[in-house]
Point group: C2
Chain length 594, copies 2
Amino acid sequence: MTLVFVEPIGVTVEIPDGETLLGVVTSGAVDVPVDCAGRGTCGKCLVRTGAGAFSEPNEIERGKVPASKLAQGWRLACQTTPLAERVSIEVRATQGRRQILTTSRLHPGEPHPAVVREPVALELPTLADARADSERLLNALGATELPLGVLRRLPQTLRDGGFRAIVTRYEGRPIDVEPPDTDGRACGAAVDIGTSKIIAYLFDLQSGRQIDQEALENPQMRFGEDVITRLTQAIHSGRLDDLRRAARGGVNELLARLCARQGLAARHIYDLTVVGNTAMHHLALGISPVGLGGAPFAPAVAAPLTLRAVELGLAVNPEAGVHFPPPIAGFVGSDCLAVITATRLAQAAAPSLAIDIGTNTEIALVHDGRIRVTSCASGPAFEGYQITCGMKAVEGAIERIAIAADGEPRDVRTIGGREPLGICGSGVVDLLAGLVAAGIVDSGGRLQPHRRVRRSATGPGQEYLVAAGPQGDIVFTQHDVRSLQLAKAAIASGCKLLLAEAGLEPAQIAQVLVAGAFGNELDVDNALAIGLLPAVPRERVAFVGNAAGVGAQMALIDVDERRAMSALAGRLEFLDLATDRGFNEVFTGELGFV
Amino acid sequence: MTLVFVEPIGVTVEIPDGETLLGVVTSGAVDVPVDCAGRGTCGKCLVRTGAGAFSEPNEIERGKVPASKLAQGWRLACQTTPLAERVSIEVRATQGRRQILTTSRLHPGEPHPAVVREPVALELPTLADARADSERLLNALGATELPLGVLRRLPQTLRDGGFRAIVTRYEGRPIDVEPPDTDGRACGAAVDIGTSKIIAYLFDLQSGRQIDQEALENPQMRFGEDVITRLTQAIHSGRLDDLRRAARGGVNELLARLCARQGLAARHIYDLTVVGNTAMHHLALGISPVGLGGAPFAPAVAAPLTLRAVELGLAVNPEAGVHFPPPIAGFVGSDCLAVITATRLAQAAAPSLAIDIGTNTEIALVHDGRIRVTSCASGPAFEGYQITCGMKAVEGAIERIAIAADGEPRDVRTIGGREPLGICGSGVVDLLAGLVAAGIVDSGGRLQPHRRVRRSATGPGQEYLVAAGPQGDIVFTQHDVRSLQLAKAAIASGCKLLLAEAGLEPAQIAQVLVAGAFGNELDVDNALAIGLLPAVPRERVAFVGNAAGVGAQMALIDVDERRAMSALAGRLEFLDLATDRGFNEVFTGELGFV
């Protein structure tokens, strides 16, 4: 992998060796536009080369970039290939607005993984020293026990290798013994089980470097899109085991894809960390979530769990550790803990807020050494789900859109520069903010008469025609507005109550860190405009991407971080919105647009 | 169960409530004959009632027992039922020759099992105390962790029972949580995996009392009758997994029979102890026995192992502990350790020898605080296997036979008094000793001419006609004599070399304790006559039955005993006969009959 350090924002992005800087531009770490999917035709992906060697400008670049700029080092990212292992580039100051969390940035030191591999050379058994094989090995390792699966093969493995072997340990305990000529590294995966999406990050545990990542829709979706439906299915319809198997199948599918792509043997994955909300945690583990089905919403377990992969049916080394950082409460999961860890929120000197927006949104506030957390059921509207023309942030999704004063769409940008197929989360926020600003959505959330507003063809009420797409009109309905109103009111109420609990006003918040799967693409001004975020100056808002995933990665490559997370869990104070008598009033007040 | 104390030998035998004393007579603890299988027709099972109440003499007894003897308390065991929970009876002095080990005798105190059950009553969750279910339970128990399987059901179990439950712990760790109205006791099983036979003893762990027992042929027999064949199958023919599954299937079958007969739920079996020779240990665990296939015969593991039942596929509670006491060396297994434990050999003040005769025979010698052990491949001849008309000690087997001076059979006694079908181990020893004494087998082991000696109909060489049975002639062939010669020479050589190593003569041995599945029925004089046992006065010889099984039982009901066994293993000094240069000479010298 090639490491690209990006000035002035100070993040490092990894791209495969021999590939162009397009990977940096599309990593989400910077805000450099690419409208031609890297074909070199739009000429927008300008970056300035810094330290290290790069490929010479090619024909395409010489046609798109003025000679004077080329001389200053400005290049098209999609045509420029780093020729050194570590290089630096510069982007325009306004293009570095986003603060993307990456493990390499947050964990700059040596990795300290649970898993280490070491070669051993044992003395051969003789008549005078016919010690048992396992005793011989354990004496040499200073360890006390071998897993049964390893013990079963040990005599053959040792004899095949002339009593030389490679031993893999997990927290000091030997968990694998392989022939001395075994090729392969010790790998691990950080897994973020979201209600809608499961993401797996593959790491080399020795270097602490990310190798690859992969995501898929949570296969539990077929049992219900939202957490409550799935809990009901598990508690009242006997589907707990089906839900468990669905989650397991999703994780195994991700791991299989990663192994296939990297030519990695699954048995060389020795460690997993898994984060998720408390319902996902319970359902993935097959733990009855009956306590989460009603007040007082007691989870089944709030301790960190480290299980063996074989117990969970995960298709990695059977003795691999699978670490689940602790859930905090019924509706504040280990994903929230991971966000707090990844953002270093607990170490913040000034009042700081972290908001992880998803189907369930968790909010954490640090102030005066106390960490308060809460959660609210925000629904999947901000992820593009349950919106008439909503879609995931994939090619063809409208990710940016402005509405002119006359109510007409303008500057419509789709992912990959393709014809629009639908609207993803960031586009929905832009659209809503634009329609409110243009007066087409009034302060109560009602669509007003306009040339583009018409009776909905698909349901009751009105709709706004966003664009004519190749697969039909893209519209934004009254129902969509209502869904977004409810979602943003839930999130805003959570923030408001948490601040009130701490005796703080929004203006006193030094930073608002916004995490979420869609977060990279959100427009701060628009998010502030619709009241999704507390009213703070826009420069205090930073998007941190999938911070939960980064927290899981940190726990994967550093056991001290893992322990710190468990300790941190004990410090979190949970505010239960469901039992807060002021919630309904605040919620109602947050429904409209000021 | 009713406890029957037997004078003058001082053993306690348990029989089911309401059953006659026949169970005592057939327990193997005493040498009282029963020739009519308890129908009351032979009149031989005379015992004298002592303390406690008994049923009145019935019609059958009044017909068989003279009034004067009835008045003295002499009764037919098969017709007399104890009416109290504890009674005592007396047998004639000569009938108490055998020293049978029973757990109740060796472990007279309170049981100290690994498993305990206790009720818990937890506070109900409230909004003010929404602790996680597992935290709530673990706090109450002062424990730290729950198995995943228990955690999965915990929320439902607690809610179903109003947060009251019955908790089962294993060495302090909670391994089961059940509704408060659960009926059932905590049970365990001691398992003795012999090369030929697997025996399981079912215990109530709270009382430390044996409930039942069951045995079957080791299903591994189909892969080879002897250890070496099975090792070869595992090492060179890839049958290790088949052998493992065969052993597991046998144990599961025994447990299923015991549970069915006792109306016991398999999930209430929470603890197992398993003993066996090292090959059986490895094969049952699925551990590669490649180290046992050649010098220096290093076992794969010589440490005690405690595994979870689910890991081994045993059909009991998945979290049940399965404890394997440590093997000592390649051919001295945990069964030998169990024999030493059961016979209290390590505590003997005077030089003592324990011989566990089986397909593989282990010998242990205690002298001057040192415990030396060895083993020899004696083959299954003394168990009735690989003998032309050999059979197991079941109904129809000749278990006693004398040969008159004229070479004619006399006093033939079969098990159950039936027509003879074959000869079991004890009958084989009687027969061989009798034929040697009558000169029909000479000192070199050759069959001599005699009216009953004829050319074998089934194979090469001569044979002696023992009896005409309903299913054909019962014969004893030259080949049978050779098999027994090899077996007894192996055992005798082992004893001789072990004594020589300790600088002892046979006459210095204070006691010779003979264990083995057939041991109860062996005739001491005959065993001494053929040189199977060292030349000691006959009163120093005691048969102790399946002492390995008793050792496993002791480890089952007392964790301190379990730990003591592990400590004892470290004290045993293994003498490797295979590498003793004097072995072949001694062996050759022991082949004949003096």
